[in-house]
């Protein structure tokens, strides 16, 4: 069992490492770029999954952090040529990326402080509200590109003789960052903190009665997830050499949510699997049929109805005896049940 999963991981790792070579053999730099993009979204989706699957917080505003990360990188690079802001610009990854993480974490703290007072659908909507605010803000900030966004002259510099402008190099750097991100998530989920998160998801009031100031725990994890989404946004800005306010749009948040649910929120790899599936669908379906939106709709509905636990749940299909069930994601009820 243990050794089998090691072998499996070995294979996946090898595939990921060999991907650029394979892609180029099949005739396309494009697929390296595509894979990089997918990896970046995997990080964003996994960070949202952490919130939904482990803590039961359904955020409809995750794009706010994603976009913020991207804009931090873009603005810093823009200030390089036209220093009007408070900060001198920079294109060093060692400064820009941590800044992206920091700023999105801070934003998450601010948004979280207000949003976490609410629950269930109210939380969904208030996070959406904040994301919309950031969207309109960036869309009308002429100084930072307005609705036309910011073009980034060249990708961040990491030193060590690595040129991120090269797609393959960039792919490996992204792979490393995303892998580290997941190691971190894995560590958090398995730690005592992870246990507290599960407890809060199941029964927050009881957690308070057991001595946890749940609000602060939620805020902390919200900030962690925001920071990770910010990092992924920073990577995307690099990948695209461009940042636009569309990154903040509710559709972007919606897509991240869809990835998570498609993959299965309760499983650690749900976000990753969902992101990969979603990107592949988006890329492949339009080639297959003119009616790709209908096809996408039907696919999504089928997955959700037939495999409620998400694509990662398919794995269980082969292991659990019939009738075995996987615990569902939190059911958000509008009426708080009276306790005791």
């Amino acid at each position: 069992m243990k050794s089998r999963s090691l072998v499996l991981w070995g294979i996946i790792l090898l595939l990921l490492l060999a991907l650029p070579a394979i892609a180029q053999a099949f005739g396309g730099n494009f697929y390296v770029g595509f894979a990089t993009r997918v990896l970046i979204l995997v990080l964003a989706a996994s960070s949202l999954r952490l919130l939904i699957g482990e803590l039961g917080l359904v955020s409809f505003g995750h794009a706010a952090f994603f976009g913020t990360g991207a804009f931090v990188v873009a603005i810093l690079s823009k200030e390089l040529t036209a220093p009007v802001g408070l900060l001198p610009g920079t294109d060093s990854a060692w400064i820009a990326w941590p800044m992206a993480v920091l700023v999105s974490a801070l934003l998450a703290v601010v948004i979280g402080m207000v949003s976490l007072r609410t629950k269930g659908p109210y939380f969904i909507m208030i996070t959406l509200a904040f994301a919309q605010m950031t969207f309109y803000l960036f869309e009308s900030l002429k100084m930072y590109g307005g609705d036309e966004g910011i073009n980034i002259a060249h990708r961040s510099r990491v030193g060590f003789g690595l040129d991120l402008g090269d797609n393959v190099t960039f792919y490996y750097v992204v792979l490393a960052v995303v892998a580290l991100g997941h190691l971190f998530f894995h560590f958090v989920v398995g730690s005592p903190l992870g246990r507290v998160m599960k407890g809060i998801k199941e029964n927050e009031i009881r957690m308070q009665a057991l001595g946890y100031r749940t609000y602060w725990y939620k805020l902390m994890v919200f900030a962690i997830a925001g920071a990770a989404a910010g990092l992924s946004g920073a990577l995307l800005a690099n990948q695209n050499s461009y940042a636009s306010p569309n990154l903040f749009s509710w559709l972007q948040s919606g897509h991240l949510l869809i990835m998570v649910i498609l993959g299965g929120a309760v499983s650690f790899w749900g976000g990753a699997v969902g992101a990969i599936a979603f990107c592949l669908l988006e890329e492949v379906l339009p080639h297959l049929t003119k009616y790709w939106q209908i096809a996408m709709g039907v696919f999504v509905i089928l997955v959700v109805m037939r495999v409620p636990e998400g694509l990662t749940g398919l794995r269980f299909r082969f292991r659990l005896p019939k009738g075995g069930s996987v615990t569902p994601v939190v059911k958000l009820t509008t009426s708080e049940v009276k306790n005791g």
Partner: protein
């Protein structure tokens, strides 16, 4: 000759798809008129859907450029998508032939050897609208535009030419549904006319509600041609009748190229040709001429560039040439929405004397294109 591969990136699905769909159909009609071969070369068109989202546009571009290896990119409808895609295309040395209004960056400081705009410059129509307002003798005008880059460019363009008093300005948010507030402000300001630079559903919402409020009886509407063109008129109905608008093209232009285009478009697609369709058609004509004049050497960037710059063909607009910034120099005419004899709404050229003649954009001076 080498085959030519053209990437057409458009907003082909979703609520904003009408612009690109018209462009695409116009473009395809041109290809058809040329027997399926631009300039005699085997022509392959690859389509990509940007969903009106710059990030998606960028992705689609990557696929067309890196996986499909296209020679030329065209089709985009929205400035923000263009601005996201353009730098990448320039870096990859792929020609970007704009098929819709071009932003000022690409006409001025950020103009590029690989960028051609044969259609119109964003503020060109608004400038003409301002000039028309002067001619018409409107003393006080109210301006409505969406609060984003292109919207502000329109307002600036109008302001630049209009010499009367601005009675008020309202910037609405993009995709706004309800204009009652702006209409209230207009009523309170009581101007002679309103200039609005709205497009798509926003234009529809505004004009309908303007009429609902009964303001059309007292106050004229002036706009740029795209706001009340063939794609939108059916949704506006009689509310649109009488609206003045400025445009580089009109379906009733009598030059033979345009006549053929307008007739065949309606026959082929069962709907009247719009300004966007004319732009798509025009791009097709331009590419045809340039590839023809490259004489089989269109894979050579310098040859293709020079052929594009000097392309000789008859434009649907009658008169057109590239300025030194590779943006258009052309006439802008005044049109008015009328009902034709079949009871359909259409635009009619008010006067064959252009409002603005032989006009290029104001940013020519800022543009320095280095020879490659």
């Amino acid at each position: 000759a080498d085959p030519v591969k053209i990437g057409f990136i458009g907003s082909l699905t979703g609520p904003l798809s009408t612009l690109s769909t018209d462009m695409k159909d116009g473009f395809n009609l041109a290809l058809k008129h040329k027997g399926g071969k631009f300039g005699g070369a085997d022509t392959v068109i690859v389509y990509g859907d940007d969903q009106a989202n710059p990030d998606t546009g960028k992705q689609v571009y990557e696929r067309l450029a890196k996986s499909e290896n296209v020679d030329i990119i065209t089709g985009m409808a929205f400035t923000n998508v263009m601005l996201a895609v353009a730098p990448a295309a320039f870096k990859d040395k792929i020609f970007f032939v704009n098929s819709n209004a071009g932003p000022k960056e690409l006409a001025g400081a950020s103009c590029n050897y690989y960028y051609f705009n044969p259609t119109w410059h964003t503020s060109a129509l608004s400038e003409a609208a301002g000039r028309f307002a002067n001619q018409k003798g409107y003393k006080r005008m109210f301006v409505v535009a969406p609060n984003y880059q292109a919207g502000r460019e329109h307002v600036d363009g109008f302001d630049k030419e209009y010499t009367g008093e601005i009675a008020g300005r309202a910037y609405n948010k993009i995709g706004q549904l309800d204009f009652s507030v702006e209409i209230g402000q207009i009523r309170a300001a009581n101007p002679d006319a309103v200039f609005f630079a709205l497009w798509g559903p926003m234009a529809i919402n505004f004009v309908k509600q303007f009429n609902q409020a009964g303001l059309n009886k007292k106050i004229d509407l002036v706009t740029a041609g795209f706001a009340v063109d063939a794609d939108i008129l059916p949704a506006l109905g009689d509310a649109a009748v009488g609206i003045y608008n400025t445009s580089q093209w009109s379906p009733d232009f009598t030059n033979p190229v345009n006549k053929k285009f307008v007739e065949d478009f309606e026959k082929e697609y069962k709907r009247p040709a719009s300004i966007y369709a004319s732009q798509g058609y025009e791009v097709g004509l331009l590419l045809d001429a340039a590839i023809r004049d490259s004489k089989g050497k269109h894979k050579d960037n310098k040859v293709l560039h020079d052929a594009l710059m000097a392309a000789k063909y008859d434009s649907v607009r009658g008169y057109f040439k590239f300025a030194s910034n590779q943006n258009p120099t052309q006439h802008v005419y005044l049109r008015q929405v009328v009902k034709n004899d079949k009871g359909q709404l259409t635009n009619k050229t008010v006067s064959t004397t252009p409002v603005h003649a032989d006009k290029s954009d104001p940013y020519v001076g800022e543009c320095k294109i280095a020879a490659q």
